[in-house]
Structure formats: structure tokens, C-alpha cells
Amino acid sequence: MFRKLIIVLITVLISGFNANAGSDGELIIKKNQPAEVKDCFESINRATFAFNQALDGAIFKPVASAYRVLPSPVKSGVSNSLENLSNLLTIPNNVLQGEFKKAGINSGRFIINTTVGILGFINVAEYLGFPEYEKEDYGQSLATMGIGPGCYLVLPVLGPSTLRDTTASVVNFVGGDAWYNVTVNNDTQYFSDFDYYASKLTSGIDFRAKNFDAIENLEQNSIDFYASVKSLYLQDRQQKILNTNKVIETQDDSDWEEIETQ
């Protein structure tokens, strides 16, 4: 019954985001342009952002700082294992996006790295010449179906998101994430709830450690740190949805063309 309610809720919310949803590439770019995403709850978002910053200063930053001094092979091993686990979310989304070839490649990548690569610690698939890994999630799948991002949100602890992406992440908890299913959802003898939450926490610390200097630098040199983080998050989401980091495919150049200084 609860699952049915969730599905109905998601359907209603999704239909509310965009009545004219289409799958045309240019429309997807336009809908996901950072400047087009409304900050409907800005004052609440700013308050949550301030809370997250305080939490970061008290917990994540010191832990990430300590994590950085670990030997490189340990850090890259942890990072590889977490990335390997994320295949469990990427593969169903490759299928949802009609990318069957990628789903096959990522399945192969997951099997090789989990077995030969010792639970993903070593990225054997990369050595074997597998194509570069691109993470996918349910928010990206909805976007490729033409669903707009809705309003920008800042979630407590989890950070920046959009209404679409937050709603889509509910799918993870109703059977859409195999890692959640074997750890939290089902009582298996091999994994416990702890494994799931520990992997998510480590993932957050790993991200913070990898971007330690960049985040510090950005904070120090921003005149509105909240707006900078929002812009960077939305640019990153747009790239992930389009599966490209080529700026010419994600940016509207018309604004540049108007600037004449020579």
C-alpha cells in the first residue's frame, strides 16, 4: 500500500513539473539551464545551506581533512569501491534511458571489478580499456524523458538538489537501488543496514576530500557562496543529464557574442 502511494505521489508530482514534457534534445538543454531553474524556496534553502555549512565545519571538513592524509592507494581503492557500487543504480537507469549497450558495458564492469577487482577496490575494467564510467540516477532518467527540474532545493545534510531529483530519489527506497535492497530493505545474512549508511557516509567524505581545496577556495573567493554552489550544482546536473562535459553543448553562447572588447 505504501509503495502504491509513493508511486501515485511521484506520478502526480512529475506531471505537475511539466505538462509539456518532451524528449527533444534542445528542450532538455533549455529546461536544465541553471539560469532557468527557479529558486522558489530561497529563504528556506539559504537557512538549510547555513545549517549544512555548520555541519560541514563541525564534522565533514575535519573528517575529510584526516581522510586526505591516507595513502593514495587506500583513497583510490575506497573511491573505486564506492563507484563500483553506484553501478547498481546506474545500470537500471541506463535501461530506463534506452541505453542498452551502456547497461551491458556497466554490468560487465560491475562483475569484473567486484570479482577480479576485489569488491571494486581495483578498477580492473579501466585497465582492460572499458569506456569512461558515467553515473546515472533516476533524476537523470526523468530529465531525459523531458521532465523539467522544478524548483531548486537544498536538503539538510544531503545538500543541493531539485524537486525532480529529490522526488526521483524516492525510487531508490522502493526497490530501485539493489544495494539498498540487499542491505536495508531485505534481511540478508551477508549485509546489514550499517553497510548501506556507512557507504553513503564514506561517499560524502570521499567527495569532500577530493574537492577539499576547491571548496575552500570557492568559499573564500565568493561574494555569494550560496549562489556559487547552486550554479555549480546545476551546471553539473545539466552535464550529467546530457552526458557531456563539452561546454559548447551545454552553454548558450549568445551572451558571449554580444561582448565586444576588441
Binding site: Y226, A227, Q235, Q239, T244, V247
Partner: protein, 196 residues
């Protein structure tokens, strides 16, 4: 006959000079990063490094262009006096922000890997910031303004696909939006940042 000869010689000389002085965007980026890298690895004080980096930025970045881009559509509402004041404030803000961002790095190794000509005015130069034990490899693209091929200028840095100019533009837009588009508040914010 003589006139024809003169024309040919003029044309020939012009083509030699044009090709000698025209600077390829990828060569320009590599030489700029090499200069910055040299300063960062030199054993001088942070203050001296910042000053050296500022002079490189003044030479190689189209600060005025980046400034007006960052202002978005608000630039259309400024009168000449405001434009002048904004350019002055933006330059101070940009140089402080840019040089203090870079001064934290010690001997960053950047390797230019390719380029893509977008049109007569723009080329995207691709490069890689080589990985260290503390951070992974980072892809950096440079938007080079090539309207005057003899004097290419940097207009944007795109780090792992994230544009710094675009981020700055959205930051300025946020300040203007939360203050009913009052440009004086933005001027004050830029001034405070530069003076701190």
C-alpha cells in the same frame, strides 16, 4: 607594371607579418600557464606571487569582457559613468579573487591537449591539470577570444565542464535579484570584497 609589383610585395610582406605575429590559442594558453607555473614554483613570498600573477592576468585575460558577461542583461541598463565605475571595481575584484585562488597552488602542471575552433571569435583550448597525491587529474578548458588573432585573450575557464564565468554571472545575478536590481549594492559588495 611597377604598381603591380609593389602590390605583390605589400601583399607578401603583409602575409609574412600576419603569420609571424598571429598567436595560436593553444600555444598562447600553454605559454601563459607555463609563466604562471614558473611564478608559483619560485621561492618568493605569497604577496610577491600574487602581484606577479596579477600582471599576467592583466595581460592575458579580457577582464572587461568577463566583467560585462558576468553582469548579464543588467549591463544594458547602465549609463557610461556606471559602466566605467563597474569596470574599475570588477577589475580589482577579479584580480584579487583570481590571484588568491591560484596562489594556493604550488607548481601546478598543466598540459594542453587540443583545441576546437568555435568560430572566428572563439576557440576552446583543452588542457589537463596533472594529478597529484592530493587530488585527481582535472580537465580544464579555456575559452579564448580570438577576434584579434594577434592578441588572443582568455574569457573563461571551464573546470570539469563547469564554467567559472557562468558561475560568477549567476552569483552577480543572485545579488542583484535579492536587492531589486540595485546596481549600487553590487558595486558596494565588489568594493568590500576588494578592500578586505
Amino acid at each position: 607594371m611597377n604598381f603591380k609589383k609593389i602590390l605583390i610585395i605589400v601583399f607578401f610582406l603583409n602575409s609574412i607579418f600576419t603569420s609571424s605575429f598571429s598567436l595560436e590559442p593553444d600555444v598562447f594558453v600553454q605559454s601563459t600557464v607555463n609563466r604562471a607555473s614558473q611564478i608559483l614554483s619560485t621561492n618568493i613570498s605569497k604577496e610577491e606571487k600574487i602581484n606577479e600573477l596579477k600582471s599576467i592576468a592583466k595581460e592575458t585575460v579580457d577582464i572587461t569582457g568577463v566583467g560585462f558577461y558576468s553582469l548579464g542583461s543588467a549591463r544594458k541598463n547602465l549609463d557610461n559613468k556606471q559602466k566605467e565605475k563597474y569596470s574599475e571595481l570588477f577589475e580589482k575584484y577579479f584580480l584579487k579573487s583570481f590571484s588568491s585562488r591560484l596562489a594556493e597552488y604550488t607548481n601546478p602542471e598543466i598540459e594542453v591537449t587540443g583545441k576546437e575552433v568555435l568560430n572566428k571569435n572563439y576557440t576552446i583550448v583543452n588542457s589537463i591539470l596533472i594529478a597529484t597525491s592530493e587530488r585527481p587529474e582535472v580537465k580544464i578548458d579555456w575559452r579564448i577570444y580570438t577576434k584579434n588573432p594577434n592578441n588572443p585573450l582568455i574569457r573563461d575557464l571551464i573546470i570539469e565542464g563547469l564554467s567559472l564565468a557562468r558561475t560568477q554571472k549567476e552569483e552577480f545575478s543572485s545579488i542583484l535579484n535579492s536587492n531589486n536590481g540595485n546596481i549600487d549594492i553590487l558595486f558596494k559588495t565588489l568594493e568590500e570584497f576588494s578592500n578586505n
